[in-house]
Amino acid sequence: MRVEFFNPFIVAAGEVLNSELGARAKRGRLTLDKADYISQDITVLISLVGDVWGVVIISLQFDTAKTIVSHLLGEAVTDFNELAQSGIGELGNVISGRAATKLAEAGYDTDISVPTMMVGQGSRISTFDIDRLIVPLETEFGVISLALALREAQNNSTQRPFEVKQPPTIN
């Protein structure tokens, strides 16, 4: 567990929620999660590749997402349509991008992937052997939950849970 990888995300999320939504996020209780993650209504997945390696999972309820998107777009959103999805995906993207900038400032160069969005609760999400730190952020719009499954990149060929024959990444 590397605390210096997690704080950038928590700080970035607070800053982005504040600057984009005028929301004040209060950090709830942190928990360490090894079991599969059960998806909420809306889940944004963003992978990290570089000195820090893993995935960031941002989850929220439909109602929270709709309220947030209504604020972002300045119009009431009643349906979680493509535009709303794009708004929430972008929120995840901006939080992760800002966190990656902070990681780079701390000496960990890391790229973030484009966001992928899951809609529908009850699926199990596994990050394999990377434990997840769960950070609930409480805002007036509802709870936004960050699940951070991050580790420092080692020799890329030794970090697989199970090895077949081929090195996993190419440089």
């Binding site: 972002l72 794009s86 708004g87 992928t116 899951m118 199990r124 596994s126 996993p168 990444t169 190419i170």
Partner: protein
């Protein structure tokens, strides 16, 4: 989506299915999708970052996943437990890694993320504004559905930290 990104994945999948699973795959009908994908029972998600960016999904039924992992690990699996999940995640990882090497040979350097696995049918998986090319690979153990949502990146740095909410 740039079609030249397709063949590296198909060739890599054929090679890995042949070498690791011992099955010959046949390519089914390609389709280009703009809407969200409905998750299969088992989905492996791997992102690409670099000159090609986006996401690759490997979808299969649990029955197919169990048969494949039984072949990879050389022991029968009746339950899709952690080890079985690791095996399928690793298969996605190896296919994507080999495809990445082929993309690099074609001049597109990219790195791949660790795999994330989604278990549970019916969830919608959206690649947002990335179109998705769907390629079913049919094998005697069932179908491996590959979804490619990839595009060439103009800028290797943190991708599109653009203004919020602009669709």
């Amino acid at each position: 989506m740039n079609v030249q990104f397709l063949n590296p994945f198909i060739e890599a999948a054929f090679a890995v299915l042949d070498a690791e699973v011992g099955v010959t795959a046949k390519r089914g009908q390609l389709s280009l999708q703009r809407s969200a994908a409905t998750a299969s029972e088992v989905t492996v998600l791997i992102s690409l970052v670099g000159q090609v960016k986006g996401v690759v999904l490997y979808g299969l039924s649990e029955a197919t996943a169990l048969q494949i992992v039984s072949k990879i690990l050389g022991q029968p699996f009746a339950e899709f437990d952690n080890l079985a999940q690791s095996g399928i995640g690793e298969m996605g990882n190896v296919i994507t890694g080999q495809a990445g090497q082929r993309l690099a040979e074609a001049g597109f350097e990219s790195n791949i993320s660790p795999p994330t696995m989604i278990v549970g049918k019916g969830t919608l998986i959206s690649t947002l504004d990335f179109e998705r090319l769907q390629v079913p690979l049919e094998t005697e153990l069932g179908t491996l559905q590959i979804h490619l949502a990839l595009r060439e990146s103009k800028n290797n740095m943190v991708p599109h930290v653009a203004s919020i909410g602009v669709a």
